[in-house]
Symmetry: C2
Subunit: 124 residues, 2 copies
DNA sequence: AATATGTATGAGAATATTACTATATTACAT
DNA sequence: ATGTAATATAGTAATATTCTCATACATATT
């Protein structure tokens, strides 16, 4: 991780912290990126592995990984010609867990989506 | 773009659940909406109260509340001529807490942003 | 050096979100 | 009924994201 050139040490404008938080949530706000993270919580994976698991084209996977990387959600490490991605903070897994519980509460008990949620929880 | 209302009972396509999760995170992905939620975790507030606390124009507040409402993040209850908004699920507070801890880990210990975080945690 | 493989980035149109302003809508009081 | 305060929505230009391909880059192998 390289140091940002010219970091400023200055007072924070009101709401600036919320801008960062919003950017972070925005990084999660995409179906493909959610799927990527749900795989990565179980451990690091190369782009190729992710690509196979999701059945998506390589540029799609790399592009979405880039979004996560730029927001510092995941880290990338070269392994020869491959690149292994991993969560930068395991708390992201906790975050997804809380989100899942919120869905659990939110969805009506008879919907197909809820059944899907239960299936997902069981797989854990 | 209008949101179709009317829940369907049918098999779930792969990744459809992730679409819902992404929409949920997208609802949080805006500085104003973060600020609104950070107030609402402490209890219900009317639009007017939120407007005053944030120092924003009324349409701005209502518009962002509408986004949260459409995603089921907050509920709205009429009180005479006012409308009181509240979190629909207290777990949203837990979600913001986890997010804050992630930021705490992520930011360098000497940055102004981190000091802001500490201040926030103390208040919270 | 030439090639193959895994990964990253670029450019374009298509789409979605935002900010801003004006106007509706609703409930209450006179 | 008219007025008023609180809230919601509509219209729209500006901006940002996403999707789809094509291509560039880096590393290892021959």
């Amino acid at each position: 991780m390289r140091a940002k050139r010219g970091r400023r040490e200055r007072p924070i404008a009101a709401g600036e912290l919320q801008v960062f938080k919003a950017q972070f949530f925005r990084a999660l706000a995409h179906p493909t990126r959610i799927r990527l993270l749900e795989i990565l919580v179980r451990g690091g994976r190369t782009v190729q592995e992710l690509q196979e698991k999701l059945g998506l084209d390589q540029p799609v996977v790399s592009q979405q990984l880039a979004v996560l990387r730029h927001q510092g959600v995941v880290s990338a490490q070269k392994e020869g010609v491959s690149v292994r991605y991993a969560l930068r903070d395991p708390l992201v897994g906790a975050l997804l867990d809380v989100a899942r519980r919120i869905f659990d509460n939110r969805l009506g008990t008879s919907t197909g989506l809820l059944r899907e949620l239960r299936r997902e929880r069981r797989r854990g």
